[in-house]
């Protein structure tokens, strides 16, 4: 019995219920939220260190043994994801202390935040494919509500696209689960993987694999199903944007990593070739879409898409080094992308707009913020010694070793275009003088922005740490990739030695 496996799910559920009870007391809600997300982060770190020391951990919920009961499984990939969720959840909670207005809090921001985190962690840890669907839904329901928090017109418009596409994806997910259950008679992922290894008809398995690819592809924002993302991510409160950018699409990516390393490895030549094309197209469309945008958060949203492409590229190449690169990329990306959104929120707070055309002169007026922007921005573009450089380096090295030249070419070009986008933001927001007609019209001025600086600074420090301390991070990613490429480790941990 390993307590730590369940804690990252139980803690946000518990504190979510608590914030619901404390609805009338704003201060108590805020304190509970910061304490709750902080405890969640600590439990996640505990889980990671336990998983690192003792290998894959399993908890049979309610003492119903696998494959009949629902299991929570923590392998290194899952544990890493939970830690990242903890970091971004905690950062968002702290950031919200000043960025979230009373009106938005009154719509139930804190309970929803906890519910979202519970859903995300549940998805990362569950070992049951139907339970994965349930956690996806928990996360989506919370995200629907967070997305329209405040109820502005643009939010509704974005939310309709978001909800519609995600419902299509959920329906597909569910039918794919149904087919898989019909084929194997089990829902436990380890058991499915085990049963499929004796299956005689790889054709139908590939069909199911493609259904999963489409369904998770929509959730991950992969080409050609990414339209919901740039339509909605720039509309909600910025703390919500940051959390979404950090976690939601990554749950889709995580699910892709899980099913395409554990379950669908029968016909790698076919399935992972498709993944590779998807990866290339996702990278390119994302970065080209960003080049056409002139709104801070829309640019960042399009860049999420292109970054998703890199992660899928790691999965698609399917060599040990490539998987390491993919996992490393996820770690780097979540920190950096959340931070860039947080920076955009602070800029908005100081200047009252997200439009690049109307901004300017921030380097002169807020040099500290300019530097704090530059760290994640250059990291995103892959400038050494920041985290993004190592993430891209590992992936490109893996591509070269696999002699997949064209994807290497695409990845390099996209890296260059990412740099272009970041330089564009830098030049427009920080470097050029602010246009006269858009002189300062701050929303809140600099009141209480200390906490915001603190959060952004902390996340930037993490980026630098991942870059400078790439060696230990690489080792964790390497061990995670080792587990992913040896599904028997996972299967034996869940079902016991057979």
């Amino acid at each position: 019995m390993r307590l730590e496996v369940a804690l990252p799910v139980i803690i946000p559920l518990f504190f979510g219920a608590l914030t619901l009870i404390l609805w009338r007391w704003r201060l108590a809600q805020r304190v509970t939220t910061v304490v709750g997300t902080g405890l969640m982060l600590l439990s996640a770190l505990w889980l990671l260190s336990a998983t690192w020391q003792d290998g894959i951990l399993v908890m049979h919920m309610g003492n119903w043994q696998a494959p009949f009961g629902i299991v929570l499984v923590s392998d290194l990939l899952g544990a890493i994801m939970v830690v990242l969720a903890g970091i971004s959840g905690f950062a968002t909670a702290v950031y919200s202390l000043t960025s979230m207005s009373k009106r938005h809090e009154a719509f139930g921001y804190y309970p929803l935040l906890h519910l979202l985190l519970a859903g995300v962690n549940g998805a990362f840890l569950t070992g049951d494919i139907f339970n994965l669907y349930v956690w996806f839904e928990v996360m989506l329901v919370a995200s629907f509500a967070l997305l329209i928090l405040g109820g502005e017109r643009a939010q509704m418009e974005g939310a309709i696209k978001y909800v519609t596409l995600n419902l299509v994806s959920s329906a597909m997910f569910l039918s794919a689960i149904g087919l898989l259950y019909g084929l194997t008679g089990t829902l436990n992922m380890a058991d499915i993987a085990d049963k499929l290894s004796y299956a005689e008809d790889p054709g139908i398995i590939t069909v199911i694999a493609m259904l999963f690819l489409v369904s998770f592809g929509i959730k991950a924002g992969a080409f050609p199903f990414f339209f919901w993302l740039p339509a909605s991510y720039h509309t909600p409160q910025v703390a919500v944007s940051a959390l979404f950018a950090a976690l939601l699409t990554k749950v889709g990516v995580y699910a892709l990593f899980r099913v395409f390393t554990l379950i669908f490895t029968q016909d790698v030549d076919y399935t992972h070739e498709i993944l590779l094309w998807v990866a290339a197209a996702t990278m390119l469309t994302g970065v080209l879409g960003a080049a056409a945008q002139f709104e801070f958060r829309r640019i960042l949203s399009f860049h999420i898409i292109s970054q998703i492409g890199y992660m899928i590229m790691g999965l698609a190449l399917f060599t040990p080094l490539a998987i390491v690169g993919g996992v490393f990329y996820i770690m780097h990306h979540i920190i950096v992308k959340a931070n860039l959104f947080l920076v955009s929120g602070l800029v908005y707070r100081l200047k009252g707009t997200y439009e690049l055309k109307e901004l300017g002169g921030m380097y002169r007026s807020h040099p500290m913020l300019a530097i704090l922007f530059l760290i994640p921005a250059l990291s995103l573009a892959g400038i050494p010694p920041l985290s993004g450089f190592f993430a891209k380096f590992i992936l490109i090295r893996a591509g070269v070793e696999a002699e997949a030249w064209w994807i290497v070419g695409v990845a390099l070009v996209v890296g260059l275009l990412t740099l272009y986008s970041m330089i564009k933001i830098w030049a427009e927001v920080f470097w050029k003088a602010q246009p006269e007609e858009h002189a300062d019209r701050p929303v809140h001025g600099s009141v209480g922005s200390g906490v915001l600086y603190l959060t952004i600074g902390g996340m930037a420090a993490l980026t630098v740490f991942i870059g400078l301390g790439a060696e230990p991070i690489y080792r964790i990613a390497d061990a995670a990739a080792h587990q992913l490429l040896n599904p028997s480790l996972y299967i034996d941990a869940v079902l016991g030695e057979r």
Binding site: M1, L3, A6, I10, L13, F14, G16, A17, L18, T19, L20, I21, L22, W23, M59, H60, M61, G62, N63, P111
Partner: protein, 145 residues
């Protein structure tokens, strides 16, 4: 009170006063027998919520709220909290989360009684369903006014 909302029926109003306690007792009955026989927290919660809803239709929103005593949102929160807490005792017994823990009591009048964490979970579900349904109903009714 707006006329289009309240049904001006003397029969319904009189009946509601009698039906409310009966339905509530029935809901508790359903809740308690739920573990081994048809019933349980969800259906019991629906019955209790419909009792309050009936009262609201027969009289008005304010009386319904007075009968309920608690904010539906608080019920929702407490219910969720009970649900989560019901999984915790197992941990102290060295078993995985949500493993049922049972306590066998022998009471003077009632005889043998088995109480356990699933009951706590069911009470949690009961409260969540009452809270959830009434939160929706009362909000809609208030918007109507």
């Amino acid at each position: 009170m707006s006329p289009q909302f309240t049904l001006q029926s003397l029969i319904l109003r009189t009946a509601a006063h009698f039906l409310l306690p009966l339905l509530l007792i029935f809901s508790v009955f359903l809740l308690l027998r739920g573990h081994n026989e048809p019933g349980g927290g969800f259906i019991a919660g629906l019955v209790a919520a419909s009792a309050v809803a009936l009262y609201m239709f027969a009289l008005d929103i304010r009386s319904a709220k007075r009968v309920l005593r608690f904010e539906p949102r608080d019920l929702l929160g407490w219910g969720l909290l009970f649900g989560v807490i019901s999984g915790v005792p197992a941990v102290f017994m060295g078993q995985p989360f949500f493993t049922s823990q049972w306590l066998e009591l022998t009471l003077p009048v009632l005889g043998d009684l088995k109480v356990g964490t699933p009951l706590l979970f069911d009470i949690g579900v009961y409260l969540v369903v009452i809270g959830g349904v009434l939160l929706i109903l009362l909000s809609l009714a208030e918007a109507e006014e």
